[in-house]
């Protein structure tokens, strides 16, 4: 077999006030809410990377998240990304200093795109992840939103061709339209310095019906940085679909993020990877080593 860069399988953990929420359901886990325990378990299972999403509402509780990051970095020897609630370059700096390998910027990237550039300049493109959350809207609605969002959105002036439906970037978990079209926005964040994009389809998120292959294909084909597909995963087959190369009819994503299928033990990481390997998707299996 030819050895090559493997596709990454990434469990996503929601953290609120320092605790993992959304019921992680590992057998024999003493404390299912402890981010370090959960991370360690995923580490053992051979997850390729972890994403911690801070869903704490108040900015005052950011220090708790920094503690979580510090502990995970000291206990788990695998890459991980931290996102959620990052507003300023100071937030980014604190997370990196606490040990986050990469930081993932969402709303702030739309509100003040300079943060992307600042992060890339200070910590490198490789550290700079931008989350983009597209949702399908009618062309009329999009054009309305464009008028309501002068400045950046209008400057980008996307070519909509004869499309009736537009993938529009939303913030605040899909509630706030921005007037930004997903593919042109993806190109823009890469120009500013994003080294990776986490693409979460607001239409697919939470459905467990599979990733949004159409939008993933469009973004993967448009930019040269790795794309992490997110939203909608309900089975390992969904990962096969989104990770298969564009040239083979897949969506060409470099990594697949999932939450509930892992947390509720529907599938283990090892089973998932086995399934992918049998279908020709290159994956890495955890390697046991004697010290």
């Amino acid at each position: 077999m030819c050895h090559m860069l493997t596709r990454r399988i990434i469990p996503c953990l929601d953290v609120k006030a320092g605790r993992v929420v959304k019921g992680v359901n590992f057998l024999g886990l003493r404390d299912a809410g402890d981010p370090v325990e959960v991370a360690r378990r995923y580490d053992e299972q051979g997850a390729d990377e972890l994403v911690f999403l801070d869903i704490t509402a108040s900015h005052e509780q950011r220090d708790i998240m920094l503690d979580v990051v510090r502990h995970v970095a000291e206990e788990c020897f695998m890459p991980f990304t931290v996102g959620g609630g990052i507003r300023t370059i100071e937030d980014v700096t604190a997370l990196v200093q606490a040990g986050a390998e990469k930081v993932s910027i969402n709303t702030a990237a739309v509100v003040s795109p300079a943060i992307i550039k600042q992060t890339a300049e200070r910590f490198g493109r490789c550290c700079t992840v931008v989350n983009i959350d597209p949702k399908r809207v009618s062309r009329d609605a999009f054009e309305e939103h464009l008028k309501e969002n002068p400045g950046l959105a209008q400057d980008m002036c996307p070519d909509l061709g004869d499309r009736d439906v537009v993938w529009e970037i939303h913030t605040h978990g899909g509630r706030t339209p921005t007037g930004l079209e997903a593919v042109s926005w993806a190109r823009h964040v890469v120009e500013l310095g994003a080294g990776e994009i986490v693409l979460t389809s607001m239409d697919a998120d939470g459905t467990k019906d599979g990733y949004d292959l159409e939008i993933t294909r469009a973004v993967t084909a448009a930019v040269g940085v790795p794309i992490v597909a997110s939203g909608g995963c309900g089975s390992p087959q969904h990962m096969v679909d989104v990770l298969r190369p564009l040239s083979e009819g897949g969506a060409g994503a470099d990594a697949a993020l999932a939450a509930s299928i892992f947390h509720y033990n529907e599938y283990s990481i090892a089973e998932t990877k086995q399934y992918l390997a049998e279908r020709g998707i290159p994956v890495r299996q955890a390697q046991a080593v004697q010290m």
Binding site: L5, M78, Q97, K102, Q287
Partner: protein, 204 residues
């Protein structure tokens, strides 16, 4: 005792903690005059080449690191720490590195649009040299974690310790006498990476 060079770029705790996990003592060292006190040295780092050299210069770490390598003591560069060992890098202009390893650092230019830059994720390393003590007890192919857009192109083929396939084969680690360096992150490469750090700590 192992010294981990801190020049203000990135978090060094994970390297330190990984060494502790495998039973090795390590301290952070950020002043040039302290470098000479250690038995082994690790040069880690993430970020931009130019900034890193500027910081090393400001903290007067350049000569102490060169002298340390020349003294024959074991030294390990990680990621940007590997790149800094070379003579030049083309990242953001042309910049001089520490020059303790002949060669240059260049950007990935894949012909295949499906290959993304940065090269990010888990890829296999294949030994290019026999009896590499860092790889003792690790079965081949070993998968390790990479995250980089530039890679080293050693002037002397004999310095290449492992190769990895991405847009053709590139040099994923080097080894010359007492000097080792990995483009990947052993401290982020789970069991395989911990074993390499264990092996490094046990040298000599």
């Amino acid at each position: 005792m192992i010294g981990i060079v801190d020049y203000g770029m990135g978090n060094l705790r994970s390297v330190q903690k990984a060494l502790q996990r495998v039973g090795a003592d390590a301290e952070i060292v950020n002043a040039g005059e302290q470098v000479d006190r250690y038995e082994k040295l690790i040069v880690p780092g993430v970020g931009a080449f130019k900034d890193a050299m500027t910081h090393l210069h400001e903290r007067q770490l350049i000569e102490p690191i060169r002298n340390f390598v020349a003294s024959g003591r074991y030294t390990l560069g990680i990621c940007l720490g590997l790149q800094l060992l070379f003579e030049t890098s083309t990242e953001d202009g042309l910049h001089e590195g520490l020059g303790v390893m002949p060669g240059r650092v260049v950007h990935f230019e894949p012909d295949d649009p499906a290959l993304k830059v940065p090269h990010m994720g888990w890829n296999a390393i294949e030994p290019a040299k026999d009896d590499n003590p860092l790889l003792a007890g690790i079965e081949s192919p070993a998968y390790v974690y990479f995250v980089h857009s530039y890679y080293a192109d050693p002037a002397e083929a004999g310095d290449v310790a492992t190769v990895t396939d991405y847009a053709g084969r590139f040099c994923s680690s080097v080894w010359r006498d007492n000097l080792f360096a990995t483009q990947f992150h052993p401290e982020k490469s789970q069991q395989v990476g911990l074993k390499m750090l264990f092996n490094f700590a046990g040298l000599g």
